[in-house]
Symmetry: C2
Subunit: 327 residues, 2 copies
Amino acid sequence: MPTIQDVARRAGVSVATVSRVLNNPSSVAELTREKVKQAIRELDYSPSSLGRNLRNAESRMLLVLLPKISNQFYLKIVEGIEEKALEHGYHILLCQTHSKMERAKVYFDLLKNQLAAGAITMDPTIDHQILIDMAKRFPFVQCSEYIKAENLSYVTIDSELAAYQVTKYLLKQGHQRIGLINVSEYFLYARDRRKGYLRALKEFHIEPEKDWFYSADTVSLESGQQAMRSLLNKKKGLTAVFAVSDMLAIGALKELNTRKIDVPNEMAIVGFDKIEFTNMTYPSLTTVAQPMYKMGEISVDMLIRKIQGEEVEDIILDHELILREST
Amino acid sequence: MPTIQDVARRAGVSVATVSRVLNNPSSVAELTREKVKQAIRELDYSPSSLGRNLRNAESRMLLVLLPKISNQFYLKIVEGIEEKALEHGYHILLCQTHSKMERAKVYFDLLKNQLAAGAITMDPTIDHQILIDMAKRFPFVQCSEYIKAENLSYVTIDSELAAYQVTKYLLKQGHQRIGLINVSEYFLYARDRRKGYLRALKEFHIEPEKDWFYSADTVSLESGQQAMRSLLNKKKGLTAVFAVSDMLAIGALKELNTRKIDVPNEMAIVGFDKIEFTNMTYPSLTTVAQPMYKMGEISVDMLIRKIQGEEVEDIILDHELILREST
DNA sequence: AAATACAATGTAAAGGATTACATTCAGTTC
DNA sequence: GAACTGAATGTAATCCTTTACATTGTATTT
């Protein structure tokens, strides 16, 4: 690999001049500039990022932390992140934690080692205290799930409101017994979505029964299926179910299909997120659209502004109820 | 951020000793070692990867090139890659090319800049000549789709055989008119799968008609839907369709559902890949399982061995026909 | 023509780590 | 006790780039 020295020698100038051609071309005379460029072409030289990063004490990598990439919800966000990052000349390090803290620590080390300049976390399972400590030392942005703390910015939607609207919509459709497939209430969005759901029920003077609730231990298709199975086995005459994630809803829908339960006539179902597949299920799934791509983009913008030392404000984006065949 | 200098000063030793404690502990006396470790703890020091990488002229990043992460097929592979990479102490840079060459070039620069140590490409759209040139200079492994060339190792499955088996299975089920939803034959896997399909038909003395073929321009759910729409509109009495990707098959299935065409009785359908969602469609999808996770793992093993200068052999893994409700 | 200004370029230090080579010193041998 | 050995540690060069500061030389001013 040629170095800047090689280029300098070939062009008959000093390394400083080559560096200037690279970083501040207007400061070197037209003629010299051409000579240098010529040498660069001839040697097919590209500056070593290693040297450059060391000297500038910077890195153009962003950590993207998520539990598991197989949850479609994260995909669109990651696409938005990657696109925007590239625009800013950054690259992303994909980090699946599998909800294990030791794994997250491995990735946090990348920040300590100065390999990554900052992090976007979408992993709600990360230990709060550790997250807070890390955010004191490094630029952090939370995407979707968040906790409130100093330096811990976030971009998200109003989960409580969305859940309220979804539930209200079901109630208006005449549903009286509406199940809830939730996840661990350790997560803020789980708490918020339950709150919204309860608020709507209360408004309609409906007292939910214990059997209407199911708490999935992972956000996966299988968990959704399991959830519906469990709800159905309790035979409480539910006529609609609200799942707090499309992954769960799709799994639940599969169970209904398998049992030949007519959707939406015998049982309506609503998901959350609007992942791509919700349009391909049978019937297609009513859901709440989160602006995932945009969330990704905004996360990057926020993070890069933080890296550059600017102050940023938390952002709550709009969601949208997508009515389709499953209700 | 504390540096090795700070640690040395605090421990009252030279930087060389600190470095030795870090990299070759047995070469320093017990007592000194403890002093240094103590200082490291007190300062919460972690060695800067920037300095380390520069000095060692190495990087522990692997490029992972794929067209678009939203094709589920790549997900499981990426999971395998990430897991295995981590095991070896490497991290992965996720690179979506969106099938655009200029985008691939941006990522290739990471190799030239010495930020990445090697690349795993799953992108069949990358210009062959450029790929060949890059592989001369940097460690490359192709996963799934591949071209044959010096230094361009690959891990894949036998697409021709798999397609042959799928088609034969359909024929044995009594299907006489079997459609093929393919993608651009610029891709080897597309050519191979068509070959296998044709070989099976030939064995059963069936001459396929022109109207049985559809070539999708992207591998997406919508393309699959569009494909089935197109095939159905030609009204050629097909009783089965083989889609070369689950994404296409799921889209096609959606179209059948929408038109209330009974699957598998009126129309059978087979996909390829065994992505997660194929088990959640209605009816569940018959498909060919590719060992994606394993492919990912093996790619990493191969790549790291190449990085270390070893010779590696190409690998063809086994596939498996997964019979489900759609046939 | 001397003094000054400024554009263009060069020299060398810095950034953080690793490591070949040099040095120190305690222990062994004769 | 002199000579030697080898373990433990230190010194300084190196990786590649950027940039403050120094230098050169030409153009402008008085």
